[in-house]
């Protein structure tokens, strides 16, 4: 999707004519505005103010949805909803419910699903794989192969093992790594905006994929 233009817009401004840059800019804003969702600002600073780590992660989980270009044909049979699923033991508690309540992504209302079996993931757009599922991760990822589901987890080495987005803690701050190859293989295009805020982006296919 044309959600984001990864290259710095200022290059356009300086190189192209003024009118061109202006047009581009307008197009960009027009594309942006409906796509963006508000993220609770407090989430950003939650860890600083002593909020639990998973509050931040919950916000991030939701925010990821806005920086991903989804395939036009949703894999879900539930048209009109955007499913965010938590597989295995839910570390968020009620935080995630509070975060996603009333929100929408890609023009669809966000629905939270807690699932326990990997085979239930077919309708999910974003799948958080709990650390509890680390043992059967390979199986899970294999099942989701080419199903356009953004996989997120805080399981160590998650991206190296074929996952797409992995939460990490850096200087006591929640950040994430991205395995771009895995996402592209799944037909998802990740926004450059998302890539540039990622702590690490793996662009080449990993041996674990």
């Amino acid at each position: 999707m044309k959600l984001f233009y990864g290259i710095s817009p200022f290059l356009h401004t300086r190189q192209g004519s003024w009118a061109q840059s202006r047009l581009l800019c307008v197009a960009r804003i027009a594309a942006w505005t409906p796509a963006l969702f508000l993220v609770g600002a407090y989430n950003l600073h939650s860890q600083e103010s002593g909020h639990p780590e998973y509050e931040v992660k919950a916000a991030y989980l939701y925010n990821f949805g806005r920086f991903v270009g989804w395939p036009s044909k949703p894999p879900s049979d539930e048209a009109g909803s955007f499913a965010i699923c938590v597989l295995g033991h839910d570390p968020f508690g009620t935080t995630l419910d509070a975060t996603l309540a009333g929100e929408a992504i890609d023009g669809k209302s966000v629905v939270l699903r807690r699932i326990s079996k990997p085979q239930d993931t077919s309708n999910c757009r974003i799948l958080f794989i709990s650390a509890s599922e680390g043992s059967q991760l390979k199986e899970i990822l294999a099942r989701l192969d080419k199903m356009s589901v953004l996989t997120v987890s805080d399981i160590p080495q998650f991206t190296r093992r074929g996952g797409m987005v992995q939460f990490i803690l850096e200087e006591n701050k929640v950040r994430f790594e991205i395995n771009l190859a895995a996402a592209e293989r799944a037909g998802l295009s990740l926004s450059s905006q998302l890539l540039k805020v990622a702590a690490n982006v793996t662009r080449n296919p990993q041996p674990g994929d």
């Binding site: 401004t13 300086r14 942006w32 505005t33 508000l38 993220v39 950003l44 926004s191 905006q193 805020v197």
Partner: protein, 596 residues
């Protein structure tokens, strides 16, 4: 100090052209630059706003995922915009999130300026900077703020460029204006300058023969030049006419012996012309130049009267026309006539008096002589008459009235033949015939008919009167009543005959007596001259009577003596008349004039 209003037309035109073109251009340039600056400011704001939007959009992920570094990377791209001095991204709770400074000068604001409600952006120009704040909106909710500070260097650079262009255009147009005005000088300023130069020559050198050159155009300037030339031509004509008049006047004054004077009352100065001095018997320039001195030239007896005449003329407007006597340095007295006008200023105050003065001594003398002679003629006992060649009476004196009984009123214009007795009707004609030939009828004895019908004996002397060309125009006639004398002569002759007869009878030597008698008798002949006697004329009448009454020899002797002296007395006036020329004078009036 240089003042444009005192400079020449050429300079004024050049200035005007330059001011107009320069002013118009400057105004146009100012408007253009002002418009450009306004639009450029709008452009600056728009550009900055665009950049803020881009930065904001690209900072969304950084804000959402709490990654200031990424935001700073995004902000660092602003380096490409050389005008952007510093920029910040603020978190939604208005705390600085990421910063950018071109020269590391940027200082984050402790409090972010507020954006008016309902708007996503605010900007303002402050201290040569453009500051813009834009909220990063996601789904209508603020996710953060972009704060950009841009300097206005670009605008100033542009202004400088504009100033340079304006200066160049202005300089070019001013040069063009100068060129154009130098062209227009030929058609406008040059003719005016020429005209001014001609006017200067005319006014300073009084040279009216020069003319301004025509321009060949048909504009107002040509009209002006034509009118100016026309005016000069008129002045020349008037000058010539004035000169001619002046010469004629001088000639007239000179030949008439008339001098002019003018008295400026304010300065009390009297000016005389060259003809005035001789009238006072003075050298040129010797005449006094003020009123009192002029009055001193006048005969003392006339001074007061003349002064009064001047005063009356000045104060009452009485015409100044009088005569007065002057005493020349050589002591002779002359009569001068004078006449003048008083000139007054606007309120009517007399400021000047001017007039003429002339010598009327001769005329005065002639008048006096004329009057004197006329009174002599009038009082003469002889009838002094003038008559035309047709025989009509032209003048008639008192003697004529006494002798003929007719008054002047009755006779002037009437034929002289009224006086002829019936038996001598043609005598007048004959006399006139002789007069016409230039002959004089001297002491012709004839008879005339008085008004009362009496016939009297008269002795007539008729002479032709000639005009200046010698032409006979009329005749004078001096008649004398000789009736008594004739009678006396007749009686005397009879007495003599009687006496001679008696002597012849009584004395044997009649020769001695006869010789003696004839000697005495000759004395009584007309034309004889004897010593003048002062015997009264009235005695003459009684003489003859007494002679006839006393017929004794002694009485006869007395009668002869008396007769002799009476004859002399009767004739004594004639020589005097001839000497005084009264004869000529009396006959100046040849033509028949209607009775006064």
């Amino acid at each position: 100090m240089f003042r444009i209003r005192d400079s020449s037309i050429t300079k004024k035109l050049a200035w005007m052209n330059m001011m107009v073109s320069g002013g118009a251009l400057l105004l146009a340039c100012a408007a253009f630059v002002a418009y450009n600056m306004v639009t450029f400011r709008q452009t600056l704001v728009r550009d900055l706003s665009t950049q803020a939007q881009i930065v904001g959009a690209n900072s969304v992920s950084a804000l959402l995922f709490n990654d200031p570094k990424s935001a700073e990377n995004t902000l660092a791209a602003l380096k490409a915009g050389p005008n952007i001095e510093s920029a910040w991204i603020y978190s939604p709770d208005r705390r600085p999130f990421a910063a950018y400074g071109r020269d590391r000068r940027g200082q984050a604001l402790s409090t972010l300026p507020a954006i008016p409600p309902g708007r996503t952006e605010a900007y303002w120009f402050k201290d040569n900077h453009l500051i813009l704040v834009r909220s990063i909106m996601v789904e209508g909710k603020p996710t953060g703020f972009v704060y950009i500070v841009s300097d206005l260097q670009e605008m100033y650079d542009r202004l400088k460029r504009y100033a340079g262009i304006v200066a160049m255009v202005l300089a070019t147009s001013l040069i063009a204006a100068l060129l154009i005005s130098s062209k227009s000088r030929r058609s406008i300023a040059q003719p005016i300058e020429n005209l001014a130069e001609i006017a200067r020559i005319v006014s300073t050198e009084k040279q009216y023969s020069i003319r301004a050159a025509k321009t060949g155009n048909q504009d107002e300037l040509a009209v002006l030049i034509d009118a100016f030339n026309e005016m000069l031509a008129q002045i020349q004509q008037r000058d010539a006419a004035l000169q001619k008049t002046h010469e004629q006047l001088n000639l007239a004054l000179k030949s008439a012996g008339v001098g002019t004077w003018s008295w400026d009352m304010a300065k009390n100065s009297v000016a005389w012309d060259e003809f005035a001095a001789p009238l006072y018997g003075l050298e040129q320039g010797a005449l006094p130049d003020e009123y009192a001195g002029s009055l001193n030239l006048v005969h003392p007896e006339d001074r007061e009267r003349l002064d009064q005449a001047v005063a009356d003329s000045v104060e009452k407007g009485v015409p100044y026309d009088t005569e007065f006597r002057v005493v020349w340095p050589d002591g002779s007295t002359h009569v001068l006539g004078t006449r003048g006008n008083v000139y007054r200023d606007e309120p009517g105050k007399a400021v000047q008096m001017a007039g003429v003065v002339w010598d009327m001594t001769k005329r005065k003398r002639a008048e006096e002589e004329h009057e004197q002679l006329a009174s002599i003629v009038e009082s003469s006992d002889d009838a002094i008459i003038s008559k035309t060649l047709e025989g009509n009476v032209a003048s008639w004196n008192g003697g004529a009235r006494r002798i003929y009984g007719y008054s002047a009123e009755e006779m002037v214009g009437k034929p002289i033949s009224i006086l002829a007795p019936p038996d001598r009707a043609d005598e007048g004609e004959k006399i006139l015939e002789r007069i016409k030939k230039g002959e004089t009828v001297d002491r012709s004895e004839t008879r005339r008919l008085r008004k009362d019908g009496a016939i009297i004996d008269v002795s007539l002397t008729v002479s032709p009167i000639r005009d200046a060309n010698g032409r006979i125009t009329c005749a004078s006639e001096v008649g004398r009543d000789v009736t008594d004398r004739k009678r006396a002569e007749d009686e005397l002759r009879k007495l003599n005959e009687e006496l001679d007869e008696r002597v012849r009878q009584h004395y044997p030597h009649p020769r001695e007596h006869a010789r003696d008698g004839s000697t005495r008798g000759r004395l009584a002949e007309p034309g004889a001259r004897g010593p003048p006697r002062t015997e009264p004329a009235s005695d003459r009448a009684g003489l003859a009577g007494r002679s006839s009454r006393h017929r004794s020899p002694e009485g006869m002797q007395v009668s002869r003596d008396r007769l002799e002296s009476g004859a002399v007395a009767v004739r004594r006036v004639r020589p005097w008349l001839d000497e005084t020329g009264i004869h000529q004078l009396a006959l100046q009036r040849c033509k028949v004039l209607p009775p006064a």
